[in-house]
Symmetry: C2
Subunit: 178 residues, 2 copies
């Protein structure tokens, strides 16, 4: 082993995985660069909105996306119960939006009061104003995976909320960047 390129480390996961395995996984998985989005849903008349990095595009045909949410979270319940949700992809100047919405235990009352948003129609999930792109989805499948729920959704509507060419907000190594 020589050179920076060959600083190879290897950690074997015990079965069942222990706390040290989880810690090493947390450390290593922060090396993944991830675009930041906000997932929104309306449940019992309340807006839910949480920043996420664990979402992906599944398919073009039909347009299909997936988001992974902690199974016991309020947003997972809201998405699960309403079957209707939106993803707003944040731009690099929207770091504050992500920070403001990251307190997942805070009151729902007034959650989006200081975050400009719009919606397609009454009762539709909020779309964050200024997003590089937004997608409204309806859930077509839900899968359990470890502590999380995977929501697979078909796109029912989509668009932008700013001019083309903006830079995305990216999360990397436990921090935001662009």
């Amino acid at each position: 082993m020589q050179g920076d390129h060959e600083r190879y480390t290897e950690h074997l996961v015990r079965e069942p995985a222990g706390l040290d395995d989880q810690d090493e996984y947390r450390r290593l998985s922060t090396s993944a660069a991830k675009g930041v989005a906000v997932v929104t849903a309306v449940h019992r008349g309340w807006d839910h909105a949480v920043p996420v990095t664990d979402y992906l595009s599944v398919s073009y045909d039909p347009p299909t996306m997936l988001v992974s949410l902690y199974g016991l979270s309020r947003i997972a319940e809201a998405v699960s119960e309403s079957g209707r949700w939106a993803l707003s992809l944040l731009a690099s100047d929207q770091r504050r939006v992500a920070e403001r919405l990251s307190d997942q235990g805070g009151p729902l009352d007034g959650l989006l009061r200081t975050t400009p948003h719009q919606r397609r129609e009454e009762g539709a999930p909020a779309i964050i104003t200024g997003a590089l792109a937004w997608f409204e989805l309806r859930t077509v499948a839900t899968h359990e995976a470890a502590t999380h729920l995977l929501f697979v959704g078909e796109v029912v509507a989509m668009g932008r909320s700013r001019e083309l060419g903006g830079m995305p907000l990216v999360h990397y190594q436990s921090g935001y960047t662009r």
Copy 2:
């Protein structure tokens, strides 16, 4: 509507989705910034290796990841049949690795000949040398989603292949960046 932040567009998807819906989805979904990884698997003695952006971390407990692969691709078959795969998260100086491996129809013979790699043991999936982090996984669930297969895997081993602090290779707007 006024100001760059409020250039709102809206495209409704027909049911079933048509080509214009797919085109609009392609355009908008490139606004998602995504870290680039290489997924690898060994099938019938051959190394398979394909750059991917549609993967995510599902859970810490136990360490669990997901990758979405086109259902009819060779890599999906290799992952499906072997049940064992790896993700190597590429650094910003590994753009050529991603480009070299993106020809998914090319010959498997010699696929990794010019791409430095290592493996934990005989028959294990290749780990790309110089990766910011790597994860070897065993499939615990497979779900169909539109044209794709979602492979959920538990991490059996993980590590780095370079010093900490490298920058990730990021894919955005149909191009690579850092």
